[in-house]
Symmetry: C2
DNA sequence: ATAATGGGTGTATTTTTTACACTTATTACT
DNA sequence: AGTAATAAGTGTAAAAAATACACCCATTAT
């Protein structure tokens, strides 16, 4: 196919004038050989993290189409030609899983020549953090199935998604050391033990309960609620919520949240 | 031009078989509409940092071609269709400035629809750190001029390069807090005062001399040399060099280099 | 009533960070 | 040859942060 396209655009150049933009006149014309230019496919892949109270999970879809049909893969697809990158990430995730309006951050781009069997496709990976309670992932479009996976129980993934996922996890770990986590992954109201479990899951190490509380509470971005947890627990646990304003203020000052 | 290309590939799809790859047989065929696929241009932009002993500098080229002819810009150009991304960054930098074999890290991709006046071009930005002494940048290809610029003295840049540069500086600052800097930016042998000046330039704050030395020396990746600095200074300064092995060992253990 | 379970609390010790001022080796000048 | 000027170099005490550590509490299930 690469060759088909090459054939199609070979030798063709386009001379352009841009009347509408603000370039000086003599610069507004530019001759460009098509074959140098529009040679690339562009996709986005979303690494969707969730927390079930115990383990850090990642959302994968089972591909219903070739290539890599019936392999588990990160939710991802081609970007539309007239769509911004960040918007594409949101759209693709919604199309494939039904999850919308999600906190997302660009992680890295992957551009090996042969990473996609159909041609030269660059993919931009995004980390997404979601509250599992808020979303019921449902397979759509060409996804056969959608499911949360524990990081330690992954089989072979489609394309180079294993490498991409590893990078996403690495970035998440780096992030948790510099800014508070939980806004996005925990329920709006949560207990300190839930928060600690989350940190332990992400960092992959246990933390001292008293020291953790001292530190977190000392950062002053948690608000103690009147309510307590009423669930099946034994002693009811104090509920907290994040003080977004206070947090933004702190991050703006370059505050360090390292545990 | 967008329209010209649209015209060219409109309605065309390609059915493919991949005999050479390792996909199961029934997945090896895939029908793909061309207009969804090869719609994107891909470029790399290099943010080249250097240190002159006083200020942090960035290497810019003066564009000799439209668009943005005679604007200062980050060295960057289109990626070849059969070229890996990281390789492209090295090649582009060498083509435009003569600088080769450089330490580079991918920073971020920029993909706004309108960021390039000629069409949809995604760019992947790289941070490069170089020893100014080792390279004599010379303009080549379509570069009219190449020059080191101080960060505080920048005019308007081509494309969205101002945004890209800002991101690169931000990442450099974040990096200097987690791993030692200087391997790439300082001469092989250097004095502690040079190293301190570098840290101060990157972090944008002054540091206490005694505390800085205590900290840096305590990390044990500096080797005291027999030589002293013979230059025009007053009292001759002790020269040091980096112990690369020791440093790699530390980074591998997740050591924290924060000042 | 009681056993079981996860929730909650404080202090002493060690380590790290910070603040701070004078002496030394050289060059340039007279 | 003496002296002024300049950047290099050095240690300690006080404050802050990190760590280690063990028991009581409020509820549910039996």
């Amino acid at each position: 196919m690469r060759r088909d396209l090459d054939e199609l655009i070979k030798g063709k150049s386009v001379a352009l004038r841009f009347s509408e933009d603000n370039l000086p006149d003599e610069q507004a014309q530019y001759l460009i050989p098509l074959e140098d230019f529009f040679q690339f496919g562009l996709s986005v892949d979303c690494i969707v993290f969730g927390f079930d109270g115990q383990d850090l999970k990642v959302l994968l879809i089972k591909r219903g189409v070739a290539p890599y049909k019936s392999y588990w893969a990160l939710p991802g697809d081609l970007v539309y030609p007239h769509e911004d990158l960040d918007a594409a990430a949101q759209r693709v995730l919604e199309n494939l899983t039904g999850i919308s309006e999600v906190f997302m951050q660009q992680i890295k781009s992957f551009g090996k020549v042969d990473r996609h069997p159909l041609g030269r496709v660059l993919t931009v990976a995004y980390n997404a953090l979601i509250r599992v309670e808020n979303y019921e992932p449902r397979a759509a479009f060409w996804a056969d199935n959608v499911r949360w996976h524990t990081l330690s129980e992954l089989g072979e993934l489609a394309f180079d998604h294993h490498e991409i996922l590893a990078k996403g996890v690495e970035k998440l770990k780096a992030r948790v050391r510099n800014q508070p986590l939980g806004f996005e992954l925990l329920p709006v109201n949560f207990t300190l033990n839930q928060l600690q479990k989350l940190y332990e899951a992400v960092l992959g190490q246990t933390l001292d309960k008293r020291n953790f509380r001292k530190k977190i509470l000392g950062m002053n971005f948690l608000v103690k609620l009147d309510a307590k947890q009423t669930k099946d627990t034994r002693r009811p646990a104090q509920l907290y919520t994040f003080d977004r304003l206070r947090y933004d203020e702190l991050t703006h000052r370059g505050f360090n949240f390292e545990l």
